[in-house]
Symmetry: C2
Subunit: 400 residues, 2 copies
């Protein structure tokens, strides 16, 4: 069905253009030079790494920037972390005018704080905004502002493998009133949270439930955007997976049962052809139903650079849970892992499908396959500044 619908998807994709901008040229752009800083009187001390829970503790400051259709972006403000005052008729509470991004700041061995490919997150944030008629912004200005926010709280960026400062840029519609229309007021806010590994189990292989009893995203929908709207509806299926002993859903789409993504991660599978011995790393194509993951993109680039093309093929293509099940039966399934900012690389050890588990091989005595392990370390080396890769790593603060 997906293949049949591809021409239609091209038509849908016109929607993604911010063609109906709700910004006019006359209004103010986002401008980091207008930043106003009101410092928190309290200066928190870093918590021990073992006390960090993903997205529970926040740093001392937050960034906010207000927008109106009339005037554009107001002066950005860094101020003490604290509650927002929101009218009960505000459109963010009724019609889900909300979107977010997730990126991380890493502390290098030299005490520099770096962001990993923040331009990709900002670009995606603008696409999300345009899709739900929230204002777009100057991406590099927001990166600079995030840098200044991190600068304020840089002593709270944790150190160590798997530890980082999680950054959550968020945009919400702030118009008050119950008429369903495009917001004439909005706000960007950015909060930051010192974090360790996303899964409590750490770098341990996870179990996913292949899920066709609910649908996360569809052609002509918004599954490729990082909207709040894509998340709440996935929690009930996630609880149902958890009841059966699986950490997450693996969303499969349509009668063909194409593998799409995990909801919080993109997903990759590695096969080895039993006749030719040739290996293939595969992930679903960006067809509008899966998130355009920054980690996904980075893995595609790195594997295409680093893997021997005589040994490996790297493909973005449709593949189904049935293909995975059949190839596992033939011994051709060699690895599988999730990829996303929160979990970075998350090895998969089993996938529940039709009441049984498809087992994914792991290295003897370890929690991942060989390629998964390599990819995780390639990315970590860039993130923590041990390797250079073009402009992927951007220094935003210096702890020294």
């Amino acid at each position: 069905m997906l293949r049949r619908q591809l021409p239609q998807l091209a038509k849908f994709s016109k929607l993604m253009r911010p063609s109906i901008g709700i910004r006019t040229m006359a209004t103010a752009p986002l401008d980091s030079s207008k930043l106003e800083i009101c410092r928190n009187q309290k200066k928190s001390q870093p918590r021990p790494n073992n006390e960090l829970v993903f997205g529970r503790t926040f740093t001392d400051h937050m960034l906010t920037v207000e927008w109106t259709a009339e005037k554009g972006w107001a002066a950005p403000q860094i101020k003490p972390y604290g509650p927002l005052s929101i009218d009960p008729s505000c459109c963010v509470l009724h019609y889900a005018f909300e979107l977010f991004e997730g990126l991380k700041a890493y502390r290098t061995d030299e005490g520099k704080i770096t962001l990993f490919r923040p331009d990709k997150n900002m670009e995606r944030m603008n696409k999300s905004a345009a899709r739900i008629c929230l204002p777009t912004f100057e991406t590099d200005e927001l990166i600079k502002l995030i840098g200044k926010l991190i600068e304020e709280d840089k002593h709270l960026v944790p150190q160590g493998k798997g530890y980082s400062l999680y950054i959550r840029p968020t945009m919400i519609g702030t118009s008050n009133g119950l008429g369903v229309g495009h917001p004439d007021k909005a706000m960007i806010f950015v909060i930051t949270s010192p974090v360790g590994p996303y899964y409590k189990t750490g770098f341990k292989a996870v179990r996913l439930l292949a899920t066709d009893f609910a649908t996360r995203a569809w052609p002509g929908g918004v599954g490729d955007k990082k909207l709040g709207a894509n998340y709440a509806p996935c929690i009930l299926p996630q609880l149902q997976a958890a009841e059966k002993g699986y950490q997450q859903n693996l969303w499969v789409f349509g009668p063909e049962k194409y593998i799409t993504e995990v909801g919080t991660m993109n997903v990759f599978f590695a096969f080895k052809d039993s006749k030719t011995g040739k290996k293939e790393l595969v992930t679903a194509p960006l067809d509008g139903t899966i998130l355009e993951g920054v980690t996904r993109d980075s893995i595609l680039a790195l594997t295409r650079e680093k893997l021997d093309p005589k040994e490996w093929e790297v493909n973005e293509r449709y593949y189904s849970i049935n293909e995975v099940a059949e190839r596992a039966k033939k011994g051709e399934l060699i690895e599988a892992f999730g990829a996303g900012t929160a979990a970075v690389v998350s090895p998969i050890k089993a996938i529940g499908w039709q009441g049984k588990d498809i087992e994914v091989p792991l290295l003897p005595g370890e929690q991942s396959g060989a390629l998964t392990k390599d990819i995780a370390s390639w990315i970590a080396d860039i993130q923590y500044g041990r390797e250079k890769h073009g402009n992927w790593s951007r220094v935003v603060a210096d702890v020294n």
Copy 2:
């Protein structure tokens, strides 16, 4: 395609059961007898009817009820209308844990304030809540609490044809923290707004754009629930329709181009067979992709009671925009209208499809067809207390 997917829909519908309740029996139920009232010192005077804009002005009080997984529902509070204090990490702002209802209170000629079928709204609100793992509640208790809220501001319920007090019960997840999981804190709040007719044009026929360039809902999704998540993604297509001179989108689904709903309304079409002379009133079936409208349900019940079965058939069935276009060409399309709480009954005069307008006949010199007009007055008679219909109208306050 929809037909093919029906067996799958039955499977999906298991999801709708609040089977994984996040309430346990040990926690407190919603209990209207625990109500605490803190009156607003300010007492607003009613505005003239001609100044009322849908959902812009609110009354002096609001109702709030907080919930925690540990303790259940706290004591309900009626207090002055005012902003909520929301942490920037709150799950309602990131993952769209939010849902709402819309119902209206009507002032009868005798000065009674009535609600129209509030039990239906409360039932649907619980279904929406269960679907995104927010807590369910005792429906009759919330109706009683809404009655008490209206009692406080009953002098602000406007009088006159098409005027009413719009009531917006809302539930949001209020857990703080960025982990994606089910909320352990939530809140119901109810605000009320004196309103006139939803469309600024009043009881005037609207123009809809049949829309297949974006998709509102999908089997296995949440299109039948009143979640915030269903609204923000529909605004861009709505602006695109507006640019072409249409007030709303008429969502058509799948390769068959089945007519589903309008996004803010369900929709009905009336045909007259040119051979037999028999008439048919038709609306899409409740298959999980359209909202289970209270007005839709009321219209089906009333037309099945009141229309002569020798003359009329009333059907819930799949029908496509192509069928509508073909029958219009044959002169068999006799009426079309939207149906929802906000607009009640909203006659349709044209539908844009493939670059042309399908014209819908109206009574000479009027803004609706004959049946549309009858249905509007049948419902209004019940809503404003001029006619009885079972327990559809519930008195909640008395202005005298």
